[in-house]
């Protein structure tokens, strides 16, 4: 923190800067479902709320569509509302997004959809700016945390001026960038909730929707005019007449490019137009820029949103002409190489490309093992997967999104599609085989937070349509992967206040499931037995879907659970180095001592959960206490 006169500067993570923008805009309601790279926004709003004594209403919603609708309703009462999610979360909320573009908003509504080019932590690389275009809502595309904060504030103003939802699209390199950010004073907006009835608009019938669509198109035209004249987010960095190339760019690609041009001393040779409002595109500005350049290169992440909107592409090079990779992140070295290729192709200059150096080759020779993500030592999900694999080794394993996707490492995950698909794919698999009169074992796995997000409709559909499979709910009483957000199951809300607990078992019962058992997965033997019983139930004439709630707290969130009841283990001479525990249990605390060719315990990682005792087929992992007793 640094204060100079009235101005305060803090180093903020991009998502925290966005939270600050939300707070500075006087926003009243903030909703979200966690997902990387968006998860830090809500906790930061909570922190600002506490620091500044605000009365912002903040909720972790059950899913993104729920979050969207709750924020929208606040806006219809005249309040300002923000809804945050990761890019694939916008798929879930898209029904509401599309419709609300037509009906519009009253208080400012800002949608923050964080993209993940790479992808680092997502199932797709989709570009949320395309969603803005698809839904016909304006989009802002920040390059830095500071800019993201300012854009949030302007997005609220724009949203209120034109009565339209507005999208902010930070990419992961903005959300997880850190920057010294200048803070501004907060806006205080007194907006008592006041929903003015207007069924023609808020409950518009298809006939009136056509009218709304026409209005939306007119609104977009006005917004485009505003963006044409905007110089804060859309500007040129140089107007060199002798420039041999023009570049249109946006988001983090812009700042990467600026550092590269500075470093290579190419600032006067290349003119740059930065676009912070990719939709609706300021067409005149773009056309005017292109007219003044010999050739124009478009560098944008992740897809071709600006490029595809450009009307006259005769001078344009970009992704559509094969000059920019179709997938993956555009890192600075990648941009350097794109630039080198284009400058050579146009005969402008020979810029050396960045290639693998001597060092890279030396490091390659070390054959370093890739450190792939793995379930933590002591993770209850590992215990559950191990039991599933042991009880039903030939089953189809339909899994879902969360830490437990890493059940892949234990070879107990066959499919991961999207939130909720553990259950829907399981029921789909059942029906496809059942149609051929084949009985196969199917085990769906789903975390507690994912079940609350989108499990119920899938499960009741499966029950209703007579599907038969085993569903194992991996209930660790938290949303672990995204940073330990509470779930409806523990009944704590986003700002730590008490909510109403929704026990998962009651939900499952409500979906019509008749066979539900709860068990601690740490007891692998019992769980194996229970899984076999569950399988029998799915085959019985009067059987159906069997649900096992495998409940054990997340070892990271609740470390005291193991600390209070440690089961210290050691490996006896019975270990013959068969590698079974390494391949099928995959605990980071177990490793092969290559000299002895025997398994050893890495005490740095071991949390004394004792689960591995049941994982060794030779009985070579035993509790230390027990051995001491045997010796006596």
């Amino acid at each position: 923190m640094r204060k100079t006169g009235q101005e305060e500067v803090r180093v903020l993570l991009g998502n925290v800067a966005i939270a600050r923008g939300i707070v500075e805009a006087g926003c009243h309601v903030v909703t979200s479902y966690p997902g990387t790279p968006s998860s830090e926004i809500v906790p930061a709003v909570v922190e600002f709320k506490n620091e500044l004594g605000l009365d912002t209403y903040i909720e972790w919603s059950a899913n993104e569509k729920v979050a969207f609708d709750n924020a929208l309703a606040a806006s219809l009462t005249g309040k300002r509302a923000a809804v945050a999610m990761k890019q694939v979360g916008l798929n879930v909320a898209s029904d509401s997004l599309m419709s609300s573009a037509y009906t519009g908003v009253i208080g400012g509504l800002v949608i923050i959809s964080c993209d993940d080019p790479g992808p680092h932590s997502s199932q797709t690389e989709q570009d949320s700016r395309f969603f803005a275009m698809f839904a016909k809502v304006p989009a802002y595309d920040p390059s830095t945390p500071q800019e993201a904060k300012e854009m949030v504030k302007e997005a609220f103003e724009l949203s209120e001026t034109f009565e339209i939802p507005v999208l902010l699209r930070p990419t992961i390199r903005v959300s997880h960038a850190k920057q010294s950010v200048r803070l501004s004073p907060l806006k205080v907006l007194d907006r008592p909730a006041n929903f003015e009835k207007n069924p023609e608009r808020w409950a518009a019938t298809p006939k009136y929707r056509l009218v709304l669509h026409k209005r939306l198109n007119e609104t977009l035209q006005k917004i485009r005019e505003r963006f044409e004249n905007d110089t804060k987010w859309n500007y040129e960095t140089g107007k060199s007449r002798g420039a041999s190339l023009g570049i249109i760019t946006c988001s983090v690609s812009f700042v990467s490019l600026m550092d590269i041009l500075e470093e290579l001393n190419l600032k006067s040779a290349i003119n740059v137009l930065k676009i912070g409002t990719p939709y609706p595109l300021p067409q005149k500005r773009i056309a005017d820029f292109i007219k003044r350049q010999k050739r124009v290169l478009i560098i944008e992440e992740t897809d071709s949103v600006i490029e595809s909107q450009i009307i006259d592409k005769s001078k344009v090079l970009g992704r559509l002409t094969g000059h920019i990779p179709l997938e993956g992140e555009l890192d600075p070295d990648g941009i350097h190489n794109i630039l080198a290729d284009v400058l050579r192709e146009l005969g402008i200059t020979n810029l050396e490309k960045i290639t693998d150096s001597k060092l890279d080759k030396l490091v390659e020779k070390l054959k370093l093992q890739v450190r792939k993500p793995t379930l933590c030592a002591g993770c209850p999900e590992r215990a559950a997967f191990f039991a599933i694999k042991k009880a039903l080794p030939k089953a189809i394993y339909a899994s879902d999104i969360g830490c437990y996707t890493l059940g892949l490492n234990l070879k107990a995950v066959d499919t991961v599609l999207d939130m909720g698909a553990g259950i829907t794919l399981a029921s789909g698999f059942y029906q496809a085989y059942h149609q051929d009169k084949k009985d196969i074992a199917i085990v769906a796995t789903m975390g507690d937070s994912t079940f609350y997000h989108s499990g119920t409709a899938s499960l009741l559909n499966a029950v209703y349509n007579n599907a038969r499979f085993i569903l194992v709910i991996l209930d660790n009483e938290i949303t672990a992967m995204t940073g330990m957000q509470p779930t409806p199951g523990i009944g704590i809300t986003a700002d730590g206040s008490e909510g109403r607990k929704i026990p998962i078992k009651e939900l499952i019962k409500g979906c019509g499931v008749k066979w539900i058992k709860t068990i601690d997965p740490y007891d692998i033997k019992k769980l194996v037995k229970l899984l076999k019983e569950a399988r029998t139930y799915t085959q019985r004439k009067d059987g159906g879907i069997a649900v096992i709630i495998a409940r054990h707290p997340c070892i990271i969130r609740y470390p005291e659970v193991c600390e209070d009841n440690p089961v210290k283990v050691e490996i006896t001479d019975d270990c013959d180095g068969c590698n079974y525990c390494i391949d099928y249990f995959e605990c980071p605390a177990l490793y092969i001592n290559e000299e002895k060719n025997l398994v050893e315990i890495d005490r740095m990682f071991c949390v004394d959960c004792g689960v591995c005792i049941d994982a060794c087929p030779k009985g070579a992992i035993i509790p230390i206490e027990k051995q001491n007793k045997a010796r006596l």
Binding site: T36, H176, K178, D259, L366, L368, C376
Partner: protein
């Protein structure tokens, strides 16, 4: 002044905390701060890396061959991230002895005039009672060597600002231990 720092290690080694230390240090030194961090799935036992740029920069990521300083809290992560260092850069590795380091890569570092310093930060931190403060030991050590433009007093006051209350005392002790060892090397 412009300084580009890479912090490398594995999940749980306090990379994000170290990044916070250097961010606040940058502010204290009157510099602008820009950087990038790893969050999410890759944090589950995977490699973690933080980029930190103090001074006049626009982009958050450090380019290949551009970093002034590399702090690596684990040997293998050093090999993976050395390519970020510029010729003439400095590398601080949490390692008992430089002899353990790969010989051919060490030779390459010499060719590139990269200064290499191995320091058993884990050992030093464990001695004081917190293996988890190894990151701070290495940072303290670097300041002691006088090879980096960071002042001990500044680091101290930054730690006071960013440490959790219960960790502060140990953090300061570890910082000092690292610093003293670094100083020994200097003289």
């Amino acid at each position: 002044m412009n300084v580009q720092i890479i912090l490398a290690g594995i999940g749980g080694q306090g990379i994000l905390f170290s990044s916070k230390v250097f961010s606040e240090l940058g502010l204290k030194m009157g510099l602008d701060v820009m950087g990038s961090e790893t969050h999410g799935m890759s944090q589950r036992g995977g490699s973690v890396i933080a980029h930190l740029k103090l001074g006049k920069f626009q982009s958050p990521l450090i380019r290949k061959g551009a970093a002034d300083i590399l702090y690596s809290f684990e040997e293998n992560e050093t090999y993976r991230t050395l390519h970020f260092l510029k010729s003439g850069g400095i590398c601080f590795v949490n390692l008992e002895s430089a002899d353990q380091f790969n010989k051919s890569i060490m030779k390459f570092l010499k060719e590139k005039e990269i200064t290499f310093r191995a320091y058993d930060a884990t050992g030093a931190a464990s001695k004081i009672g917190s293996i988890r403060s190894a990151n701070i030991a290495l940072i303290g050590y670097s300041a002691g060597t006088g090879l980096v433009p960071f002042k001990y007093e500044d680091l101290r006051s930054v730690l006071e600002l960013v440490s959790r209350k219960k960790n502060l005392k140990i953090n300061l002790k570890v910082l000092n231990a690292g610093f003293q060892e670094g100083k020994l090397l200097k003289t």
